[in-house]
């Protein structure tokens, strides 16, 4: 991780989060923090509670206990939309793109919060609305170039191969110019080459835009290469937290991944 970006102060602070679905404990007393500009990974075997954790930060689930603080604002009961307004964007584990819409429209829809003109101005495409659309289009074109999907601009995303859809998902989140980007298994189901591409995009985003990244993966090898710090979950509990090297040496983590020998 030899780049020039400077890791700053804590932007996202997760404290003592517990989440239950009926009698099932998805998360128990999880605490960790995320610093500005860092790549923070949450890893763990399947069913460890990684996605639940991400959904708590994203406002999809409301945890029964604990608090999440973003830039000094604590939120307990917020929906995804309010979280988006605060500058937190996300991608989805099982793609949640707008399948019938073109790549361009999908990414443009990520600019929604930045659009200021009202319905009636848009309806008659008058002055401000027209200018606004052009401005946002320029921004979106930069993202399209960045993700190397120029050739698919007008293609409905439902027709693209999986790896490209994942990029569009990332592009839509980037269009929001988020301060924090939550990535839910960005490399799931990809081949080695696609994984490398995606790793490169994530690092570039982090590097060029200074976006703080929280990343979920269950494939340890990829994560260790690109993360600054790693949280390890297992059965809804935190069993490790530290730099990739520290985590790799942690006996609890080793047994969670490889199984205990006793």
């Amino acid at each position: 991780m030899a780049n020039s970006r400077k890791i700053g102060e804590v932007v996202l602070d997760v404290k003592n989060i517990s989440l239950r679905f009926g009698g099932v404990k998805a998360l128990t007393d999880i605490s960790f923090d995320v610093r500005e500009h860092e790549v923070r990974a949450i890893i763990g075997p399947n069913g460890a509670g990684k996605s639940s954790m991400l959904n708590c930060i994203n406002g999809v689930y409301a945890p029964q206990e604990g608090s999440i603080t973003f830039r000094g604002r604590t939120f307990t009961h917020m929906n995804s939309r309010q979280v988006a307004e605060m500058g937190i964007a996300r991608t989805f584990q099982n793609l949640a793109l707008f399948k019938g819409m073109s790549v361009l429209d999908n990414i443009m829809s990520g600019r929604n919060l930045k659009m200021k003109t009202n319905l009636f101005q848009q309806a008659i495409r008058w002055g401000a609305a027209e200018r606004e659309e052009t401005q946002h289009r320029e921004f979106v074109e930069r993202i399209i170039d960045f993700l190397e999907i120029q050739a698919y601009r007008k293609t409905p995303v439902g027709r693209l191969p999986y790896g490209l859809q994942k990029r569009v998902d990332l592009g839509r989140a980037l269009a929001m110019e988020p301060q924090v980007l939550l990535l839910d298994e960005p490399m799931a189901g990809m081949n080695v080459e696609e994984k490398q591409d995606m790793s490169r995009f994530i690092l570039d985003v982090n590097d060029e835009y200074g976006t703080t990244i929280v990343l979920i993966e269950h494939d340890m090898s990829v994560v260790m290469d690109i993360s600054d710090r790693v949280v390890v979950l297992d059965y809804g509990r935190k069993i490790g937290d530290g730099t990739p090297d520290e985590v790799r040496r942690n006996p609890d983590v080793i047994s969670a991944y490889l199984g205990t020998s006793h």
Binding site: R81, G100, S109, Q122, A173
Partner: protein, 309 residues
């Protein structure tokens, strides 16, 4: 030949009106993925509101001019439809975010029956007239070509022009504006739309209001033709085969589908019905829709369903 053309035009005009109602279905489905069973009830409700306001407002305010009276009644009826949209979102759909399609469908079925009954509670259950000054007199076309020409109602012609304009405006709105894009996004995936900060509740109020507007226009045209009465909400059932034919997600599809069914109905009734005994007009649309479900389930213009397995 003259008779054939007359039947054809008659079918086209009837089809245009089916299209208007189908348009309401398509709008709500496109923007929220909800199959809105209440569209017919909304047409009746809007037409009732329009008919009664056109009666009450001039009387209450002592307005002489018919145009002003009608305009005020239209505005008032539109406000009522926006209120309906707002209430539907607040009390029903807003509580059902991320639920299965079938849940939402049942909810709209409930709304349909409520609107049917409630409309009659507040507006009365007689047959009312709407008179917005659409010319009633027929005119004759192609008099030089055929003896006697082809008879066409001017009213129908106006209705067709209004419907066509409405469709053009709505297509542009969906394809070209940021709000239209947000509407389509919500239709595809509620969860994802929320995660990029699209306000679901506002989008729903907008789209139900637009559907309310379309219902009002359809209600006025139907109402001034046939009178406003309960059977208006049943006309909506004719719009179901139209959306199957045209595709649930396509605004132009609703129009073409409506025209095909309108024309098909009339022609088959006149030309085939006379041979096998009539009654075809009643089932023609549904049988055609069934055939489409078997052969081309996404309709003529619907988005092809692509599933990656």
């Amino acid at each position: 030949m003259g008779f054939f053309l007359e039947t054809l035009f008659g079918g086209l005009m009837a089809g245009m009106l089916y299209s208007l109602i189908a348009l309401g279905f398509v709008l709500i489905f496109k923007a929220s993925g909800v199959f809105n069973f209440a569209q017919g009830a909304m047409v009746l409700f809007a037409a009732l509101a329009m008919a009664r306001f056109a009666e009450w407002i001039p009387k209450g305010l002592g307005i002489e001019s018919k145009i002003v009276g009608n305009l005020l009644a239209f505005a008032a009826a539109m406000l009522v439809m926006i209120a309906v949209a707002w209430l539907v979102e607040k009390l029903v759909l807003g509580k059902l975010v991320n639920q299965e399609g079938i849940t939402l469908l049942m909810a709209t079925l409930g709304i349909a029956y409520f609107l049917d009954g409630f409309g009659q509670t507040i507006f009365g259950s007689d047959i009312y007239k709407i008179d917005v000054g659409l010319p009633k007199d027929p005119m004759f076309l192609f008099e030089s070509v055929f003896p006697g020409g082809v008879l066409i109602g001017k009213e129908d012609l106006y209705a067709a022009v209004i419907a066509a304009a409405l469709v053009a405006a709505l297509s542009l709105f969906f394809q070209k504006t940021a709000t239209g894009r947000a509407l389509r996004a919500v239709a595809d995936d509620h969860q994802a739309a929320q995660s990029i900060g699209i306000p679901l509740n506002r989008i729903w109020v907008i789209v139900w209001s637009v559907a309310g507007f379309v219902a009002l226009v359809a209600g006025i045209i139907w109402g001034s033709k046939l009178g406003v009465q309960f059977s208006l909400s049943l006309v909506a059932l004719k719009a179901l085969p139209v959306v199957i034919l045209g595709g649930l997600t396509s605004v132009p599809g609703a129009i073409i589908g409506g025209l095909i069914i309108g024309v098909g109905e009339k022609l088959s009734e006149v030309y085939i019905g006379s041979k096998i005994g009539g009654g075809i007009e009643i089932w023609f649309a549904y049988v055609l829709a069934l055939l489409f479900l078997l052969v081309r389930p996404q309709g003529l213009f619907g988005e092809k369903i692509i599933d990656r397995v």
